[in-house]
C-alpha cells in the first residue's frame, strides 16, 4: 500500500503540526495542572483550522472526506507525540457513526459541527471492564417516539466535555447506537483519571430519553471498525517513537566504559523491536486502506492490526523503560508516558485478546 501524493502531503504537514503544537510536554502540563477540560485546546483549534476534524466528514456536510488512511496518518502523529486531542472520540468515532447510520436530520445537525470543531462527541460502548460489544447490557426500551436507556458505561472517551453521547444499547436482539444529550435528565458523568491521563469517564444512564438513529447497528459497527483501525495507527506511531527514543539512548549512555548500544544483548532486542514496530505500522496502514477500499477482508485486517498494534506498543513501552534503566522508571523522564498510553490505547475498543478472538471467529475457527 503506497501513499498517494495527497496522503503524502497530509502526512508531512500533520507531522509538523503535531510536533509543534501537540508535543509530549503538553500532556505533562495538562496533567500537572489537572486541566478542567483535559485536552489540548490550542492544538484542537489548530487541527480544526487544518481541516483535520472533518477528515472523515463527507464533503456535503462540510468535511474533506479524506478517508481512513488520512485519519490513520493523523493518529500516527498523535501517537508519536502523545498529543491530547478529542480526535478519536469526535473526528473518528462520532463522525463515522453519524455518517454511517445517522438520519438525514441527525447528519445535518451534527456532521457540519464536527467538521468545524464546534462540538465534541463521545462513544459509550463498554458496560463492563472488558470490551464486549456483542454482549451489551445497557437496555433500550421503546417510549413514545424515542427510547429510554438504562445502564452504566465506562471508558467513555471525552464524555465529560462532550456535547453528544453515542450510546450502545440492546433493544430486543439488536444492539445499536442511540443519541443522548449529556445534559439530559438521568445522565451522570464521572470523569475518571486513567493511567494515561487522557479524558475518560464513567457514564450512568437512569431512564434517560434517547434518540434512535436511522441505522444504529450500522453506526456502531462502522465506528468500532474505524476506531480500531485508527487506534492501530496511533499505537504504531507511539511504538515507533518509544523505539526511536530508546535507540538514541543506546547511542548515548555509557556503562562499563562503553556505549550500552555496543552490548549485543541490547542490540538484538533493539533489532527485534524495530521489526515489530515496522510490521505493526505496515499492517495498520494496510488495514486502513482496506477499509477505504471496502475490501472483503477489511474487518479481518482491522482486527489483526489492532491486535498486533496493541501488543507491539506494549512491548515497545516495556522495552523502552527497561533499556533506559533506572531513569526510565522516573516520572520526570517522558518515556513512561508511552508505556502508559500503550496500555490504555491497547485496551480501548478491544484488547489484543479480544481482537484475536474475533479474528478467529471471522476465519471460522
Amino acid at each position: 500500500m503506497k501513499l498517494n501524493d495527497e496522503q503524502q502531503m497530509l502526512q508531512d504537514s500533520v507531522a509538523r503540526l503535531m510536533a509543534d503544537k501537540g508535543p509530549v510536554s503538553h500532556l505533562r502540563e495538562l496533567r500537572d495542572r489537572n486541566d478542567e477540560k483535559g485536552y489540548d485546546e490550542p492544538l484542537w483549534h489548530a487541527m480544526v483550522e487544518a481541516g483535520l476534524t472533518g477528515i472523515l466528514v463527507p464533503e456535503e456536510h462540510g468535511g474533506i472526506g479524506f478517508g481512513l488512511v488520512g485519519a490513520g496518518l493523523v493518529a500516527r502523529e498523535i501517537g508519536r507525540n502523545l498529543s491530547v486531542t478529542p480526535f478519536l472520540s469526535t473526528a473518528v468515532l462520532g463522525a463515522t457513526a453519524l455518517a454511517a447510520g445517522g438520519s438525514a436530520e441527525q447528519q445535518q445537525k451534527w456532521l457540519p459541527s464536527i467538521a468545524e470543531g464546534s462540538v465534541i462527541t463521545a462513544l459509550a460502548v463498554d458496560d463492563g471492564a472488558k470490551h464486549r460489544p456483542e454482549a451489551i447490557k445497557t437496555e433500550a426500551k421503546a417510549a413514545g417516539d424515542g427510547v429510554t436507556l438504562n445502564g452504566g458505561k465506562l471508558l467513555v472517551l471525552d464524555a465529560h466535555v462532550a456535547d453528544l453521547l453515542l450510546v450502545a444499547a440492546r433493544q430486543g436482539d439488536d444492539t445499536a447506537l442511540f443519541l443522548v444529550d449529556p445534559k439530559a435528565q438521568g445522565v451522570t458523568i464521572e470523569r475518571t483519571r486513567l493511567v494515561d491521563d487522557r479524558n475518560a469517564a464513567r457514564v450512568t444512564l437512569d431512564n434517560v430519553a434517547a434518540e434512535p438513529m436511522a441505522d444504529g447497528a450500522a453506526a456502531l459497527a462502522a465506528a468500532l471498525r474505524a476506531g480500531r483501525a485508527v487506534l492501530a495507527a496511533e499505537l504504531s506511531g507511539l511504538a515507533r517513537e518509544a523505539f526511536e527514543r530508546t535507540l538514541e539512548y543506546l547511542k548515548e549512555r555509557k556503562q562499563f566504559g562503553r556505549l550500552i548500544g555496543t552490548f549485543q544483548a541490547l542490540q538484538h532486542r533493539a533489532a527485534l523491536l524495530m521489526g515489530e514496530v515496522s510490521m505493526s505500522d505496515a499492517l495498520a496502514m494496510q488495514a486502513l486502506d482496506a477499509c477505504d477500499r471496502n475490501a472483503d477482508d477489511a474487518d479481518v485486517q482491522v482486527l489483526a492490526a489492532k491486535a498486533k498494534a496493541a501488543r507491539v506498543a506494549l512491548l515497545a513501552g516495556q522495552e523502552a523503560v527497561q533499556m533506559h534503566g533506572g531513569i526510565g522508571m522516573t516520572d520526570e523522564f517522558d518515556i513512561g508516558f508511552f508505556l502508559k498510553r500503550a496500555r490504555a490505547g491497547g485496551e480501548t475498543l478491544g484488547d489484543a485478546n479480544y481482537c484475536a478472538d474475533r479474528f478467529a471467529v471471522l476465519r471460522d475457527y
Binding site: 500500500m1 547511542k251 562503553r258 538484538h268 524495530m274 496502514m285 498486533k308 479474528f359
Partner: protein, 394 residues
Amino acid sequence: MSDLEQFRAETRAWLEANCPEEMRQPLKSQADHCWGGRKWQFQSQAQKVWMERMADKGWTAPQWPTEYGGGGLSPEQAEVLAEEMKRLNARTPVSNFGFWMLGPALLKFGSEELKRQHLPPICRGEIRWCQGYSEPNAGSDLASLQTRAEDKGDHFMVNGQKIWTSYADKADWIFCLVRTDANATKHNGISFALFDMESEGVSTRPIELISGESPFCETFFDDVKVDKNQIVGELNRGWDVAKYLLTHERNNIGGEPPGFLKGRALGPLAAEHVGTEHGKLADSALRADIARLEIDQMAFQALVGKIREEAEAGQGVGAQSAVLKYYGTELNKRRYEVMMDALGAEGLEWESERTMGGLYAREWLRSKGNSIEGGTSEVMLGIVSKRLLGLPDA
C-alpha cells in the same frame, strides 16, 4: 483495456491452455518440487511438459532479459503472472539455486560471456546449481574461509573442503567462494568461482539431517582445475558478489517455503484433529496460538509488501533482507510448531503411509534449518542492528 489488463488476459488464457491438470495442485511435499538439471528424473510427463512450456515462454525466470532465456517481464507483469499462476494453483515449473541465487548475481556482476554461457541453461532447467560457501571453520564468519585457488597460469587449482553444501550430490555446477590471495585481509582475497561438479577432484559425501533426509553434503576439492574465465566479478572481489547473492538468498528463504503447509490454513487443519465446540476450536489455547500466529503473519506480509514497494521505487532491499529473512524463517518455524501441536500423535508418525512417510515430523524438523541456512537468525539481528539501526561495534 490497459496494457497490464491485456497482459493479464493473455496470460490467463495461455496458462489455462498450457498448464497440465496435474500441475494445478499444491505440492504434496517438498519431494514434488521440480529441481531440473542433468540428473533430474521427472516425476511425470506433466512435470516435464510444464517445465518445457514455461521455459519456451521464458517464464521460468520471468524477469530475466529475453536474450538470456528469461521472460523480460516488468515487475508489474511478473506480479500478474504470479497472481494468475496462483489462481490456477499452478506449480512453480522448475527452480533451483541457479534461479534465486546465482542468476541475480550473474546478471549484476557477470561478464557478457558468462551470462550467455550460464543463464540460458538455467532457464531451460538443464543445469542445476549448488552453493559452496560454508566450510567447517567458516560458518557465520564466512569470510574466514580457507578453500584455496592457486593461479597456475592458464587455470586455477582449487583445494579445500566445503560443508553443508545443499544438493551437492545432485547439482551439475557449483558457485564457490575460494581464497585467491592468501596475503590479503580476510574480505579482500576471496573470489567467486564457477565450475562443473563432474570436474576431476570433486567428491561429495551426503550428511543425514535430523529429518532423516540427506539434502546436503560435505564437498571435497582435490586439485580441481577451474577455467580462468569462470570468475564472476573481479578477482579478489568475490566478497561483494557473495554478499549480493546472500541478500537474494535471504529474500527467498524468508518467503513461504514449499511443503505441506504452503497455502494451507491452520484453523481447519486443527479442527480436524481437536474438534470444535460452539463453532470454535475445542482447544482454546491452541486457537489463540493460531490466531496470534496468523496475525503476526499478516503483519509480516504487510511489511514485505512495503519493503518490496520501496525496493521497486529504487531504494533496493539491501539490509532489509535481513529483516525479511529473520521474521520469515522464525514465523515458518512457529507455523510448524503449531501444526505439530494440532496434529498430536499423528504428527509423530515417522513412516506410515497415512502421514506420507512421516512428512509432518520431517518438515517440522527441516524448518529448524531455515533460521540457520543463509545466515543464522542471530547474524540477521546483528546486520539489522549495525546496518539499519547504526548501533556501534564494541
